[in-house]
Symmetry: C2
Subunit: 272 residues, 2 copies
């Protein structure tokens, strides 16, 4: 039985890439400010960057803002990734960035929405409601979930950095340890910002074998080598680097993706 991370590892090998191309159709970047514009924006980006993508990550919010037609655009976008996968003979996982989090039958409905209706392979989730809010997303090993752990926004300090009594550790490390305990089917990952290398390396210590989705490289200005040094597993993998605007806004997105992928390979080579 193959797990989500078996699929991801295969794709990382096939593409020699740790890049996760973000599909974030910001209204200001669209050819027309509607769902068709959002689809066109994403389809173009998929076409140009699929060779260099370990995964694609559409953000649900930028589709939902267009209502039902946005939802249809999201389905077309995920379908386009599936077509690229077939063309390449290599499954490119789609991580739906949705940050959902609800309980029991509601969580099951969200899992159905992401995995069955939309056909995504993984989803991002909030951990605030605990284990039973996460479990419905983990029932099928070939589908995965990345739990928010330590983010890089200013408000992250409000909850994530609070020290948990008895352990002396910040809340985000408690989340990392829980996620590791819940990872019995090899389909749980963590979202850990790439812009705070100290935090990234503490999470890596707490969860040495897990995959992290580490945003912040590129538009958010994280230093690539420092992030890789702090976050890579010993085998030089375990870190998926989402990049959106740094690629989508460049004059040649394919070239930008290829260059970033190659830069990562070079640093991986130095570090391992």
């Amino acid at each position: 039985m193959e797990s989500f991370f078996t699929f991801l590892e295969k794709r990382v090998s096939d593409s020699s890439s740790l890049l996760c191309i973000g599909l974030d159709p910001h209204i200001s970047d669209l050819p027309s400010p509607n769902a068709d514009g959002a689809a066109a924006f994403c389809l173009g980006l998929i076409e140009r960057t699929a060779r260099y993508a370990a995964a694609f990550k559409p953000n649900a919010a930028f589709f939902e803002q267009f209502g039902a037609s946005g939802w249809m655009a999201l389905q077309r976008v995920i379908e386009a990734v599936r077509e690229q996968s077939q063309r390449q003979g290599s499954l490119i996982p789609v991580i739906l960035d949705a940050k959902r989090g609800d309980i029991s039958s509601t969580a099951e409905a969200y899992a159905r929405s992401a995995f069955s209706t939309l056909g995504a392979h993984a989803i991002t989730l909030s951990p605030y409601l605990g284990r039973d809010s996460v479990e419905p997303f983990l029932a099928a090993p070939e589908k995965g979930a990345f739990l928010l752990c330590k983010t890089s926004n200013p408000g992250a300090a409000d909850l994530q950095d609070l020290t948990v009594a008895g352990t002396g550790e910040p809340l985000y490390l408690a989340v990392a340890r829980l996620a590791q305990a819940w990872n019995s089917r090899d389909n749980v990952g963590l979202v850990v910002g790439a812009t705070q290398p100290d935090a990234l390396s503490r999470v890596r210590q707490a969860a040495p074998g897990m995959w992290f989705l580490a945003p912040g490289v590129g538009a958010q200005g994280g230093d690539l080598e420092i992030a890789l040094r702090a976050g890579l597993r010993r085998d030089g993998r375990g870190l998926l680097l989402p990049v959106s605007r740094a690629i989508s806004r460049s004059a040649d997105p394919g070239k930008a993706a290829a260059e970033l992928r190659d830069k990562i390979i070079e640093i991986q080579y130095h570090l391992t």
Copy 2:
């Protein structure tokens, strides 16, 4: 300038009710297992219970599971609440139970989706990403947000009950204090389970003036009088009681809603 809670207070007066009717189209309850069935289920429920509703609370998950057509059904459902409001000459707030939580431009897109595209008046949010993930939902005082604080599922213990060093208090009380600090426009509430009266009364002490959305009465078995005693503000308000299956699955949903509303009035009268 009127705030979300001014609208809610008016509606509570107009309906003499603290009931928040949940619109949760579980597939097993639908006349047909699709988006049309979900819409029909909710429209019937709105028609029968609107007189006794302080608010309606559609849960996004049960619509999203049907993809784009589910999203269209959700729009029809919110439109039906607006029509009932016009018929009654009293605005019935729609609280979109979506438990979103993301940062900056993404949070703005979610706020646009809930408030502009769908026309909801308030939304439920996860607090895990902190202040800047909540702020985009609070920019317009007439729109509100309820932050997850203390839920009643087993997994709530995983994060919410952890003791914060230095304060000796559980994390959920830290969330209550933060939410109170962020409530400068009278549009922030909290989600606090009704089934754990001790926790409910601790949150009430920490946030004496705030509105709580307190699920657990009805199908989840919370004792109504104990919950009201623990959670009501001194003025006998401040607690919105979501009920879904206990009303939707009864032979006569209108009668069930009326009886529950009256029972609450009776307890309010005793307690204040």
